[in-house]
Subunit: 395 residues, 2 copies
């Protein structure tokens, strides 16, 4: 074999979302952009807050160039890590230090680094449906296996019975993603407490650590004063995988961090394994400039109110039309039940009305579709008649 | 085992260079920075050219924020990749297209992505001494093995007999690094031609592809009109791993690319394997802003003349004092034979004169030390008496 077979395959599979996006571009060229309603992509539609751009220009003008663009230590600049741990402690009452923070190139690298640090071949990592399909790619590359657990109907909270049934002696970790892509669901405090109680019980039963990996790019994107529990306060063996991609509308700049719980088993080894995994995967440091940018923007977010406006408009309109939608407390997706069994067929039918939607089968939830509402509000307003006609076809 | 044992170990081993650097900071606090001569770190000492900072500010002010900071496609922005392939073609007469370029987070990620794309467990990758110690980390993580081949004495060109003896049916790839860290040696056209002839012969003999991975962060740092052969023009199965870290003094920003030779065996699979490896390792895209920055700076470099001044001053002075040095045509390192058998002992002795040098044993060349001359020229001038006293101790 000349190249890694699995990686060639992975490189050739164009993601379904990308296919739809390309189709949308073609269609826009044919009939005009204003007549195509693209709800496929999860790219923030709200610009970065002004403080981000101001900070970039200030650093370029006033920070020593060699230091600004030079290597930081592999785990990230010590001052930046101190600021982040102080910020988290102030907000959540934790006791993190700079030495619990490892700066990364965004959530995907946070996840691959943690997974490589802890997962050994033959072990299992649980994810709850719907889950980001890339989890499977990241887990399999470590030689471990993703075990999907179906969530509760309608609420999409964790189904504790199914969860318990899936845990066995090979279970090494659980990934959660709350607020969730693609359902928008936020796990309640009750869900988190039950999950953590069960894991503590199972740790005792099997006599080894079981880790929670909490994938949190959408933490700041919640509406109506919904509280997102901070997992380090509920469970000792927690890795927080954070990203500024959505909070500050910087997805292309690849900046985030891993926070290792101070209460983790063999905490020093855990942090060392993270550092070692980062090295082995080729991460030298996260962008030195963007580390300093986010340090100045810890309290800032993009204008989240636009997403709330979109959420309310889309949820209310679609449920009025007869669509069954999960009520999303966070993120910028509406998770909608297809009006026929085959979500692909439903999305093809939607295309006839120039609506570009994503079948959610690859998230482990066949029969559902994802509608990204990180778009201009006007696009939603303009698209409502099309959604209505689509619904009428299935009446 | 709770964490990956090898990665915990990797994360705990502080690099020797980092140890020396930390010692230097401590010593500077004790006796004053101007009295400590730190030649340990390979961080560019010349600031990024003005066009880099001007471009950053221009993009922030005039480029749509959502697009500037948003995701590019995983392989990099199509326009940026087109500009880079045009630039390479204009300079080296190659026939690359945008679809031969994959944007990366710098040379380390270029290397891990290529190595994961091609190396399978049990296969071998050859590197020539002295080589960057991280090669071993990257190769071992794929399940393959690094095979070190001693270079020619004094010239540090490839020893073709030793090279041929090291190739066997498991040989999948060869990594070269010219200009070399830490020797500063540039491979001659003759060396490259002989290496490529031998590889073509061995490909026929074993009936499978053997790849050249050319690690080129120092390509632009050459002095006196030295020519660095462009390997794609010499060999079909070539991956170029390029980085702007040293050329534009942006090591902390992590921006570079992989160029896949258009003549590669199963070229489309090769590029797909690169894309797949990037995904599996958690690389989503290289910094979207820095992709656009380097597009505007393809012709620019930092002020390389300062490194030439340093090279000439340091090489001439040290050889006058009786040091045996490899003449460096490129990079910013002087590779010096220790004056006793044990390079660690020699570096400890150097510390007594406040000279911080790096033993090169970890580069596969015991008995040598590395002197980084990416420092202020004044530091070299001030350090010369210390170098002289050190040499006198061994007379």
């Amino acid at each position: 074999m000349m190249y890694s077979e699995s990686l060639v395959k992975l490189g050739k599979v164009r993601s379904e979302i990308r296919e739809i996006f390309e189709y949308g571009n073609k269609r826009k060229a044919e009939i005009g952009a204003e007549n195509v309603f693209d709800f496929s992509i999860g790219n923030p539609s709200v610009p970065a807050p002004k403080i981000v751009d101001d900070t970039i220009k200030d650093l370029v003008d006033n920070f020593d160039s060699v230091a600004l663009h030079g290597y930081t230590s592999a785990q990230g600049d010590a001052h930046v890590r101190q600021s982040i741990s102080d910020y988290i402690n102030g907000r959540f009452g934790t006791k993190l230090t700079a030495n619990h923070i490892y700066m990364t190139c965004g959530a995907a690298s946070s996840l691959t680094i943690v997974l490589n640090a802890i997962m050994l071949p033959g072990e299992e990592c649980i994810a709850f449906t719907p889950y980001f399909p890339e989890y499977g790619v990241f887990i399999e590359r470590t030689g471990a296996k993703l075990v999907a657990v179906q969530s509760e109907d309608k609420t999409f909270q964790i189904d504790m019975e199914k969860f318990e049934a899936a845990i066995n002696e090979k279970t090494k970790a659980v990934i959660i993603n709350s607020p969730n892509n693609p359902s928008g669901v936020v796990y309640t405090k009750e869900t988190i407490e039950k999950m953590c109680d069960l894991l503590r019980k199972k740790e005792k039963e099997y006599g080894h650590s079981i880790f929670v990996i909490t994938d949190e790019p959408y933490r700041e994107l919640v509406y109506d004063d919904i509280e997102v529990p901070y997992i380090i306060n509920y469970y000792h063996n927690t890795f927080v995988c954070y990203s500024y991609s959505k909070a500050l509308s910087l997805p292309g700049e690849r900046i985030g961090y891993i926070a290792v719980s101070p209460d983790m088993d063999d905490e020093e080894d855990a942090y060392a394994a993270v550092c070692g995994a980062g090295r082995a995967l080729g991460y030298v440091c996260a962008s030195s400039m963007y580390q300093r940018v986010i340090e100045k923007c810890l309290d800032a977010t993009s204008d989240i109110s636009i997403y709330k406006t979109n959420r309310d408009l889309l949820y209310n309109s679609l449920t009025d039309m007869g669509y069954q939608c999960v009520y999303p407390d966070g993120a910028f997706y509406l998770f909608v039940k297809a009006m026929c069994d085959d979500s692909h067929e439903f999305c093809e039918k939607a295309k006839e009305h120039e609506l570009l939607l994503v079948p959610a089968d690859s998230f482990g939830t066949p029969g559902y579709i994802r509608v990204s509402y990180c778009v201009q509000t006007k696009q939603i307003e303009d698209a409502l008649p099309a959604f209505k006609k689509l619904a009428e076809e299935y009446k």
